[in-house]
Symmetry: C2
Subunit: 266 residues, 2 copies
């Protein structure tokens, strides 16, 4: 999906909501365990219940990989079930030397046709560039994350900057606002404005809202740009908002509530 | 596999050779394409030809993931074919927030029972620690890599150190020489000695020998410690050393030559 189309969908739905499908078989309602594929049944119900409000779905690949081949099959079937009008993210945090990153890009752009994949920057330019060579596909590079461990390296001083600021400046040289986004952790509210100043045009994928403590108004106020420019991911706060046979209705209501908070800013 | 067993195998074989199974279906001898599973047939032949000289096999997961479900099946079958006496590495470069890294650890320690997995450090402590909670399993954290992109961040000054030096010092606090190794790029010959001074006890996984330009004597001289303490990975320099029906013999001869270079230092 290209940038223009993504922005049009955001305007039409008045939403920047990304629903995170971090589906853990141990956390889904027990009545689904009698289904042939419980995780797929859960994901389909969540997609049906939330697609009116979401402009994006993010599949956390770890939860599928841990199930082995059946997990990859479920991931492929979930991806195929997501409507074509909704942007998709393989949240896979890949990155390696050039010939290996090429294989990862092939995995998540061709073998599994996602619109985008999250990428770790530690190995530098040749580890990121292979993800930027596909038309209408996106690399979403880790900039500033929302976890406690972000203090270990990302928030360390490098010369007169913090490491994550240097990551933004360097990585922006490798791609454009048409093929490159950044992960920006939302619990770091005070820093969102500063990151937007460094990087005015690129889309940010913003996790950390809901279970991790961030909130929608803070994020929209500090991180949006003129073309919206953000996708706010909520995983556990939507998909596990109900735990019984009404889980899909609960997810619908939670997604609607998030969308309505976002609409004020769009 | 525990540290003591790994060291015993190194002493018995007089080898620190890790053979990298970065098997690309486009690069294997054409006569194998008529096999039911060409990549598996290739891997089995390579393992048979090199297991006398190798103390470790490293599977680069990207090359398998790109083939989808069949790739994961091939990876599992290759792993099962490696003798139990040989250490195994899932070269997967994973790392994410805690609950997600737990799923990756489960993937590569339980679903696919490797001895170790490579881990990216950018997200800090809670992204690495879940890989250190399994008995006789290892996290191999990216310290200093061998690619050009290592200059973008790893070799930047952070306070009075370089970033990679800070990564070593921090990450060493999270694990022990019994569950934690580091990736150290061998083309950076001058730095190997310095890294060993920072980190005297831990094993290093050293890629970059062969196709990437490093050489065995330089690595052994600068990076070994009293218990060997290194695994030198060679991928393309062994597995693609022959391209016709004699590919396995060529791999055997290449592995033997590397082992003989190593034996001098053991």
């Amino acid at each position: 999906m290209n940038r223009q189309t993504l922005i049009r969908h955001i305007q039409q739905k008045k939403s920047v909501l990304c629903v995170g499908l971090d589906t853990d078989i141990n956390k889904i309602p027990s009545h689904l365990l009698q289904e042939e594929n419980p995780v797929l049944a859960f994901n389909k119900a969540i997609i049906d219940a939330t697609k009116e409000f979401a402009v994006c779905y993010k599949i956390n690949t770890a939860f599928y990989e841990a199930q082995g081949i059946q997990g990859w099959e479920t991931m492929a079937q979930t991806l195929a079930y997501i409507p074509d009008t909704i942007f998709t993210i393989a949240d896979a945090k890949r990155g390696d030397i050039g010939n290996t990153s090429e294989q990862y890009a092939k995995t998540f752009f061709e073998t599994y046709p996602f619109d985008s994949v999250t990428v770790a920057p530690y190995m530098g330019e040749d580890s990121v560039k292979p993800f930027l060579q596909f038309e209408n596909k996106w690399a979403i590079v880790l900039g500033l994350t929302s976890n406690k461990g972000s203090h270990d390296f990302q928030l360390q001083q490098v010369g007169n900057k913090l490491l994550y600021e240097q990551v933004f400046e360097k990585v922006m040289e490798w791609g454009t606002p048409y093929n490159l986004m950044f992960v920006v952790g939302a619990t770091q509210g005070a820093q969102l404005k500063q990151v937007r100043a460094i990087c005015p045009q690129h889309f940010f994928l913003i996790p950390g809202v809901g279970a991790q403590g961030g909130d929608v108004p803070t994020v929209c106020t500090h991180a949006m740009n003129e073309e919206a420019g953000i996708l706010i991911n909520v995983s556990r706060g939507i998909i596990y908002s109900g735990s019984d046979t009404h889980f899909a209705e609960a997810a619908h209501d939670a997604a609607k509530a998030y969308q309505q908070e976002m609409a004020v800013f769009l």
